[in-house]
């Protein structure tokens, strides 16, 4: 554990801003949207007080925010932005370009539901809408992880073999607005962890053309190469996190709790903590918890290892994929199992849409029902809405 005495109380949003400040960021551009807004408010305070030497460009839309970030990133600058929900949806087009142009931008996404109806509360629908955009996608469980992962995100993004944008996700409100102890590193330690690597950039002396157009003769290769690089980013997670000065805060692809439980519960983000609490304080030794931190590239190999002893799996999605076979996380887990030749009963649980954060009672009820459903083995996949209509459906 971190030493409590060296910790400061920070919300998830404040932890983002503090990490970005320590990362010696050069350029920030963003547009206000709840629940992300506090991140850029803090950062603009840091910029105006001179605590960080950066340019903050308060643009007229999220589309322009990410566009400005791409321009800035192509000058060689260290670049940060953050958004939520509709803002992320507006960035959608530009997200593909950021990864295609290999811009190592770091973005914090305070995850929030998508309209309509309008809702400002937490769920993962926003980022799941862009899950194929070629970004590295990391999910943090609490403000401490937010802080640690933002710093490591810069190192991963700017790795010469990667040069890809990274989004660090934190649940809107439940993590972004929750104040918790965060142990922070010394400024100098962060700086030495984040060296500046040269990369192609816009300059008059070496005039290159960025954002060219590619005919069918070339496009396919670029896209397959980008996929390879994204997978390579996954391989490099261990290298960049091993170098992280605080060994407790290292970015892992997934972490496991209650190793010996027969039924694995897979979850991402803040609600993972509630499940952890339930397992720990209610003697649920039959269950293990897999807290997934890296969603893209999906850590299939590591997940198969973690599931090697499992007899059933519960996958918790805080988003739906209307019309799809399974919601996003469950479909990745199912595909991973299939690819590994593993046949496990799977319960796909959709929870927490629009900020309906599961209560402890709901989680306990879900686990209770899960055992029953998985044991029934009527079919390999069953589905559940947790919290829908106030209970378990």
């Amino acid at each position: 554990m971190y030493s409590l005495t060296s910790s400061r109380l920070m919300t998830g949003n404040e932890a983002v801003a503090y990490a970005v400040k320590q990362a010696d960021v050069d350029f920030i551009s963003a547009y206000p949207i709840t629940p992300q807004t506090i991140i850029v408010e803090r950062l603009s305070e840091y910029v105006s007080s001179g605590e960080v030497d950066a340019e903050f460009v308060p643009v007229e839309s999220e589309h322009s925010a990410l566009s400005a970030c791409i321009g800035a990133s192509l000058t060689g600058a260290r670049v940060f932005t953050s958004t939520s929900s509709q803002g992320l949806a507006l960035m959608h087009e530009v997200m593909y370009i950021a990864s295609g142009l290999r811009c190592p931008i770091v973005m914090a996404v305070a995850n929030r539901a998508l309209s309509a109806p309008l809702n400002i509360h937490g769920d993962h629908s926003d980022i799941m809408g862009s899950r194929d955009s070629g970004w590295v996608l990391i999910f943090a469980e609490n403000p401490q992880e937010v802080y640690d992962y933002i710093i490591q995100a810069f190192r991963l993004a700017e790795h010469p073999e990667v040069l890809l944008p990274v989004a660090v996700n934190l649940d809107g409100f439940t993590v972004s607005h929750s104040s918790e102890p965060v142990a922070v590193l010394e400024d100098a330690v962060v700086r030495s962890y984040l060296p500046r690597n040269p990369r192609p950039r816009l300059e008059y002396e070496e005039p290159s053309s960025f954002g060219v157009f590619a005919l069918p003769s070339h496009y396919f290769e670029f896209k397959v190469e980008q996929e390879r690089v994204l997978r390579r980013a996954g391989e490099l997670v261990e290298e960049i996190s091993r170098a992280y000065p605080n060994s407790h805060g290292r970015l892992v692809k997934l972490s496991k709790f209650n190793e010996d439980g027969r039924i694995a519960v897979i979850c991402m983000g803040g609600t993972t903590g509630t499940v952890r609490h339930a397992l720990k304080h209610h003697g649920l030794e039959d269950f293990s918890l897999i807290s997934l931190k890296l969603f893209s590239p999906f850590p299939g190999k590591e997940l198969l290892e973690a599931l090697s002893e499992a007899e059933g799996v519960v996958v918790m999605d805080r988003a739906t994929s209307p019309g799809a076979a399974l919601p996003p996380l469950a479909s990745n887990v199912a595909a991973t199992l299939y690819e590994g030749g593993v046949s496990l009963p799977l319960l796909s649980v959709v929870y927490g849409l629009g900020g309906r954060e599961p209560t402890l009672k709901m989680v306990l009820e879900m686990l209770d029902k899960a055992e029953e459903r998985l044991r029934a083995r009527g079919r390999a996949v069953s589905r559940m809405y947790l919290g829908y209509g106030g209970g378990v459906a």
């Binding site: 990369r199 005039p207 690089v229």
Partner: protein
């Protein structure tokens, strides 16, 4: 230190390398300069969309036939009518 990574990346590092592409086959008429009328005023050059017009070492205006698409602007705008459009041999 080179900034170019060893990666397939959609950046063109060789500035202005379209000059390696020949577009002469776009042309059905070619501009021909009548030397005795040409004053090397460069008007044809400033109005050329390519540019496929240049000055040689002697300071004489020349047509770059690898890159001229035969639009005819130079002939139209030459103040001395020193450029004629001539049908290409098929």
């Amino acid at each position: 230190m080179s900034r170019r990574p060893e990666l397939l990346i959609p950046i063109v590092f060789e500035a202005g390398n379209t000059s390696l592409r020949k577009v002469a086959n776009w042309r059905s008429n070619r501009p021909v300069i009548e030397r005795r009328l040409c004053t090397n005023c460069l008007i044809c050059w400033i109005y050329c969309p390519e540019p496929a017009i240049y000055m040689d070492n002697a300071g004489n205006v020349q047509i770059d036939y690898d890159h001229c698409k035969g639009c005819g602007i130079c002939a139209e705008e030459c103040p001395r009518k020193a450029i004629k459009m001539v049908m290409e041999n098929v």
